[in-house]
């Protein structure tokens, strides 16, 4: 098995009724990189994400994580193997305090005696010290994005899937969030896979990009290659009218 490969997705197909939300998609994520999955609305990014994290099972195709076939594995077992994710629409636990939420994730690898230290560490890392006793339902979006990140990191993943984690943040919040992601990638050596709408975040962070449109891969490459790819421009902006 290839040791540099973190995740291999081959011929993934997810179907809702007659609609193929993801159609025969293949890509590979390397250990240690920041990988981006982009595409216009309805391209099937989140569906692909859900199949990778196990929230839905694909009709066809295979997902291999660190050399193990996880296509039919339950989500919590994938997490034990070292995969974590966040959600596009923040799904915090509204009635729980920030530290309790992070604690739920920390129990993934820590026992009762070490869990508190892990929680402290993650809260410190994600800059949540001031709000740790607050209930999630009272917090704003930017903070909740950090809470989601903290609880996912608390599970001590090797691969972290971030679903539109920049959505709804203002410029300053986005910049600091991107710094945090870079820090996690570099210092903790966590492979990141981001699904993103915001070009600023994709271009600024990622090393390799796969572009989806209508459930199919239309381009793969570095940010520079992608931004000059004709097909990608067409998918986002529409075809250039030849003459008028």
């Amino acid at each position: 098995m290839d040791t540099t490969s973190m995740l291999q997705v081959s011929n993934l197909t997810v179907q809702f009724g007659s609609l193929k939300a993801v159609n025969n998609v293949s890509f590979e994520i390397q250990r240690g990189e920041i990988f981006a999955l982009i595409g216009p609305n309805g391209a099937g990014k989140t569906t692909a994400f859900n199949a990778i994290s196990g929230l839905l099972f694909p009709q066809a195709g295979q997902i291999v994580f660190k050399g193990t076939d996880i296509t039919k594995l339950m989500p919590h077992k994938r997490c034990k193997l070292g995969m974590a994710r966040t959600f596009q629409v923040v799904r915090a636990f509204n009635y729980m305090t920030v530290e309790d939420v992070v604690r739920v994730g920390a129990y993934n690898r820590q026992g009762e005696d070490t869990v508190a230290a892990k929680v402290d560490q993650m809260i410190e890392l994600c800059g949540l010290g001031e709000v740790r006793q607050r209930v999630c339902g009272d917090l704003g979006l930017a903070t909740l994005r950090r809470v989601e990140l903290a609880r996912a990191l608390a599970t001590e993943p090797e691969l972290l899937l971030l679903d539109e984690s920049g959505a709804g943040l203002n410029t300053a919040e986005l910049a600091s969030f991107m710094d945090l992601l870079r820090k996690i990638n570099r210092e903790q050596n966590i492979t990141l896979c981001i699904v993103e709408h915001l070009m600023q975040m994709v271009m600024g962070l990622s090393q390799r990009i796969v572009v989806l449109d209508s459930g199919e891969v239309i381009a793969t490459g570095t940010p520079h290659e992608i931004s000059n790819n004709q097909k990608v421009i067409e998918a986002y902006l529409g075809k250039r009218v030849t003459q008028c």
């Binding site: 919590h76 799904r91 636990f93 009635y95 729980m96 309790d100 690898r109 996912a152 599970t155």
Partner: protein, 338 residues
């Protein structure tokens, strides 16, 4: 949050309440009605506290309490009638049986992700199914009551768990309540508790954090059904007979109401709700039916009771526990304790 220290002001308050509860029967000794009422309050408090684990923490609207109570009562009672086995042992066998049945039902229910309304309906149907089974199963149940043997006093009375006063039942229920409180507290500040609270809010989100939500829910259901089975064993002895009407959806519903009104996921919530609501309902029944004799208004108390529930649901949707907590904090700052 770390597990709170054993002797903080909150626990002292609990000890005071416990002390009052222990001496209560000494004052009520002569009034069997009030003693019966107090026992009923405790019985419902135990059931609602156990429900708190599956309903309050894990957010599963379980309406099956009476099924487990009934199974506990019938197992304990039948073992006593047929094999002369003391209820002190029989209640544990009944509890194990209730837990076993709950597990058999829980595995497919949770496995197929039956949730919310559908879970509530399924668990509620369980009660009716068991009532029908025991109504037709003439060897154990049947439409006529089966009376448990009785002895007025002496060791035989203790062996049969049948007494001519409610005082022992009161203490049995009090002991069960203390045990259930400790279980609740233990779970709340453990891995299981945090996982249950989180999955009660969002099951997918907790699954991707490495929590096996099915297993957690199953554990919660097992603990809850075991306690309900234990209560059932004593319940049969209190009433002195076995009848399929023990499988009563009214009882299940009452347990859920107490759990919700008390405050979801709050350990002492169900007890408070039981003290207020059960005794208040009984008071209403006694006073209102006496107020209009012969007017066919015996059900009036239920109307008033329902109104109170609506008011609580409207103004305190998180239950009465937060109210009490605020009051308690005020009292603490007033007295000047930290």
């Amino acid at each position: 949050m770390k597990r709170p220290k054993l002797l903080n002001s909150k626990n002292i308050a609990i000890l005071v309440v416990l002390a009052i509860a222990i001496v209560l029967p000494l004052f009520l000794r002569t009034n069997q009605y009030v003693l019966f009422l107090a026992t009923t309050v405790l019985l419902y408090a135990v059931l609602a506290s156990a429900w708190n684990i599956i309903g309050g923490m894990a957010g599963q609207l379980d309406l099956g309490a009476a099924a487990y109570v009934g199974l506990g009562a019938f197992t304990t009672g039948t073992l006593l009638i047929r094999f002369n086995l003391t209820p002190w042992v029989g209640m544990f066998i009944g509890a194990l049986l209730a837990m076993g049945i709950a597990t058999l039902i829980g595995i497919p229910l949770f496995g197929f992700k039956v949730k919310e309304v559908w879970y509530a309906l399924s668990s509620s149907a369980l009660v009716e199914v068991f009532r029908a089974i025991f109504m037709m199963w003439n060897k154990v149940g049947g439409p006529t009551e089966r009376y448990l043997p009785f002895s007025a006093e002496g060791p035989r009375s203790w062996y049969l768990m049948r007494f001519n006063t409610y005082v022992p039942y009161f203490y049995i229920m009090l002991a069960l309540l203390v045990v259930v409180f400790i279980i609740n507290h233990r779970i709340r500040y453990s891995k299981l508790g945090y996982s249950l609270l989180a999955l009660g809010e969002d099951e997918d989100a907790v699954e991707v954090l490495g929590v096996d939500s099915r297993l957690c829910k199953l554990k919660a259901l097992m603990i809850y059904s075991f306690v309900a089975g234990l209560v059932g064993g004593v319940y049969g002895c209190i009433y002195g007979y076995l009848h399929p009407s023990f499988f009563s959806t009214d009882m299940s519903l009452e347990v859920v109401i107490l759990g919700i009104v008390g405050g979801m996921g709050v350990t002492y919530g169900p007890l408070l709700a039981a003290i207020f609501l059960v005794s208040f309902r009984e008071y209403l029944r006694a006073s209102l039916s006496g107020m209009f004799p012969g007017k066919g208004l015996e059900g009036l108390y239920l109307m008033v009771y329902a109104l109170i529930l609506i008011v609580v649901a409207l103004f305190q949707p998180r239950g009465i526990a937060p109210l009490i907590k605020r009051g308690f904090l005020k009292l603490k700052s007033f007295v000047g304790v930290k």
